[in-house]
C-alpha cells in the first residue's frame, strides 16, 4: 500500500500539527504537552471537564471529538498505543474547571494503567477524577464477562452523553453516571474484510484472505470470533444486527441511536448500503431509529471493514444526544 508519509516516527506529531491547524476554531495544542489537544471552550469554571485519550491511527477518534459540549482535552498516544500517564494527567489539568474531571476511555490494558496513574498524579493538585471504561464490543468477551470487553465506537456516544451532561452543569458523580449509562446502553460489533499495516512495520500483522471476512474483529485487528466466506452486504448487515441485538435484549418500541463507522478503507457508499439493511432489520425487531450516524467516525488505519454500534435511548439519553455540540468529527 502506498502512503502519504514523511518519517514514520513523525507521523503522530504531524497528524496532530495538521489537525490543530485545520480546526483552530475549535481546538488547540496544549502549551505544556505536545501530545494533548484541548478544546477552545475549556476549561470552564464550575463545569465538569471531560477527558479521553488513546492510541493514534483511529482518526477522527480520539482528537476529533474535542470541542464544545463534548470532550475538553484528549491525550494522544503513538499509533495503536496508549498515551503516557503524564499526557493523561496534563489533559486532566487542561480540562479542569474546578468541578472535577471525568475520564471516559476504552477498556485496554495500557489505557487502564496510564489513566489510573494519571488520576493519582493529579490528586496532588486537588483535582477530583471519575472514570468510565467503555466495553461495548460484544465479540471481545461473553456477556457474563462484560468487564473484559474492549471499548470501540460506543465510546463516541459515551463522550457525547458525558459532554452534554457536563454542559448542563451537573456535578461529577452525575456526569459519570450518565456516561456509564450511555456505554451500558451501547453494543458494538466489527466486521473486517482486509487488514491494516502499522506504517513503521510496513506489512500487515495479520491477514484476511481474499474472499474471506472476519466477524467480531477488534479496532486493532484483534481476532474475531469467526472467519468465513464473504457474503452479500445484506447478509453481513443481518449478522451484525443479530450479534448486537441478541446481546442487548431490548423491548419492542425502544428508540435507538445507530452508528455505522468505516474502519478506514471501506468506501462510505458501502456503509450506506449496510445502513439501509441495518435500519430495516432493526425496524423488523420493532425498534425505532431516533438518530443515525454513518461515516468514518472511528477507524483503524486502512483496515477494510465496518462497525455497527447501537445505543438504546431513554428520555435522558435522548435529550443529551440531541444537545447541540461542535467538534471536528461530530
Amino acid at each position: 500500500m502506498q502512503r502519504f508519509l514523511n518519517d514514520p516516527d513523525d507521523l503522530v506529531d504531524e497528524t496532530v500539527a495538521g489537525f490543530v491547524k485545520a480546526h483552530r476554531d475549535l481546538v488547540h495544542l496544549s502549551p505544556e504537552n505536545a501530545r494533548v489537544v484541548v478544546s477552545n471552550f475549556a476549561p470552564e469554571a464550575g463545569r465538569v471537564g471531560i477527558v479521553t485519550g488513546g492510541g493514534s491511527g483511529h482518526e477522527p477518534a480520539f482528537i476529533g471529538y474535542t470541542g464544545r459540549n463534548l470532550v475538553d482535552a484528549v491525550a494522544v498516544g503513538e499509533i495503536f498505543s496508549s498515551p503516557t500517564a503524564k499526557s493523561f494527567a496534563d489533559a486532566i489539568k487542561a480540562a479542569n474547571g474546578g468541578a472535577g474531571v471525568a475520564v471516559l476511555y476504552g477498556n485496554y490494558a495500557g489505557d487502564n494503567m496510564n489513566v489510573k496513574m494519571a488520576a493519582r498524579m493529579v490528586a496532588k493538585d486537588g483535582i477530583e477524577v471519575a472514570t468510565v471504561v467503555a466495553n461495548d464490543d460484544v465479540c471481545s468477551a461473553p456477556a457474563t464477562e462484560r468487564e473484559k470487553r474492549r471499548g470501540v465506537a460506543g465510546e463516541i456516544f459515551m463522550w457525547k452523553i458525558g459532554g452534554a451532561k457536563a454542559a448542563t452543569g451537573a456535578p461529577l458523580a452525575e456526569v459519570q453516571a450518565a456516561a456509564q449509562k450511555a456505554i451500558d446502553a451501547c453494543r458494538s460489533v466489527g466486521v473486517g474484510l482486509g487488514p491494516c499495516t502499522l506504517p513503521a512495520v510496513g506489512h500487515p500483522n495479520f491477514q484476511i484472505a481474499a474472499g474471506q471476512m472476519e466477524v467480531g474483529i477488534g479496532h486493532h485487528g484483534e481476532p474475531g470470533t469467526r472467519v468465513e466466506a464473504l457474503r452479500t452486504a445484506r447478509d453481513v448487515a443481518d449478522d451484525m444486527v443479530r450479534l448486537v441485538m441478541e446481546d442487548h435484549a431490548l423491548p419492542a418500541g425502544t428508540e435507538l441511536a445507530v452508528l455505522v463507522s468505516g474502519l478506514g478503507a471501506t468506501p462510505v457508499n458501502e456503509l450506506y448500503v449496510l445502513y439501509d439493511r441495518i435500519e430495516s432489520q432493526l425496524a423488523g425487531l420493532g425498534m425505532t431509529v431516533h438518530r443515525a450516524f454513518v461515516g468514518n467516525y472511528f477507524t483503524s488505519l486502512e483496515m477494510v471493514g465496518a462497525t455497527l454500534t447501537v445505543m438504546a435511548l431513554d428520555d435522558e439519553l435522548k435529550a443529551l444526544l440531541d444537545m447541540d455540540c461542535a467538534s471536528p468529527a461530530l
Binding site: E78, S82, A85, S87, A109, E222
Partner: protein
C-alpha cells in the same frame, strides 16, 4: 565490596539505554510481528529519560533516585510498558527506603523488586506471554542465589539465564493479556518483545557488575 554511588546507578541506566538502543531494530522486528514495532525505541527512550532525570542526583538517597527514575520513565513512555517499568522502579524505590548506600547484592535485589512492581501493576500470570515470563524466573533465580550466599555477579548470571529461558518459552505461548493479546493465536510462534527487552535489561545489569569486578565489559560505560 565498594559501595555503589548514585552516579554509578545512573551509569547502569545509561548502559541499559545503550543496549536497548542497539537492539531496537531486532526488538522492533519482534514487536512488528505481534505489536507496533516501536517497543525497542520506546524502551531505549524511556531509559534515556531516566538517565537525564537522575544524572544530577548526586546526594539523593537511592530510594529517591529510583522514585525519580520511575516518574521520568512514565512521563516518556506510554502503552503498557511505561506504567509497568515505572511500577518496577517504584517498587525498587520502596524496597530501598532507609538505605543510604548500595552494594552489588542490592543490584541483584532489584530483580525481585522490579518483578513485584510489574506483577502488581500488570496482573499478568506466568504463561500469559508477557515480560513477566522473563522477569518472574529471573527474580526467583536471583533471590535463590542470594539466599545461597553466591557472589552478586553469579546471582545475576543465574538470573540472566533464567530470563533467557523464560523469554524463549514465550514462543510457544498464546498471548492472553497485554497488547499482543489483540492477536490471540496469531501471536503463537513469536517471542514476546517485552520478555526480550527484559532479558536485555538483565544482561546489561550483569554486564555492568562484571565490568565492575574487573572483567572488562563495564569499562565502556
Amino acid at each position: 565490596m565498594d559501595n555503589i554511588t548514585n552516579r554509578q546507578i545512573t551509569d547502569i541506566f545509561r548502559l541499559i539505554a545503550l543496549r536497548l538502543s542497539e537492539a531496537r531494530v531486532e526488538l522492533g522486528a519482534l514487536d512488528g510481528a505481534i505489536g507496533d514495532a516501536d517497543h525497542g525505541n520506546s524502551m531505549a527512550e524511556g531509559f534515556a529519560a531516566v538517565v537525564r532525570a537522575t544524572s544530577a542526583m548526586i546526594d539523593a538517597s537511592p530510594s529517591e533516585l529510583f522514585m525519580v527514575a520511575a516518574r521520568s520513565f512514565h512521563s516518556e513512555v506510554g502503552a503498557t510498558t511505561g506504567p509497568l517499568y515505572a511500577s518496577a522502579m517504584m517498587a525498587a524505590g520502596r524496597d530501598l527506603d532507609g538505605k543510604t548506600v548500595l552494594t552489588a547484592s542490592d543490584i541483584v535485589s532489584l530483580l525481585p523488586s522490579f518483578a513485584r512492581g510489574i506483577a502488581e501493576r500488570g496482573k499478568a500470570q506466568a504463561g500469559d506471554k508477557t515480560m513477566m515470563d522473563a522477569w518472574g524466573p529471573a527474580a526467583r533465580a536471583a533471590a535463590e542465589a542470594l539466599k545461597a550466599g553466591l557472589p552478586a555477579q553469579h546471582c545475576m548470571a543465574r538470573a540472566e539465564r533464567a530470563a533467557r529461558e523464560g523469554c524463549d518459552s514465550t514462543r510457544a505461548m498464546v498471548a492472553s493479556v497485554g497488547r499482543a493479546a489483540r492477536l490471540g493465536a496469531r501471536s503463537l510462534g513469536h517471542v514476546d518483545p517485552g520478555a526480550a527487552s527484559a532479558v536485555i535489561i538483565i544482561a546489561a545489569l550483569q554486564e555492568w557488575l562484571a565490568g565492575r569486578d574487573g572483567t572488562g565489559a563495564g569499562d565502556r560505560v
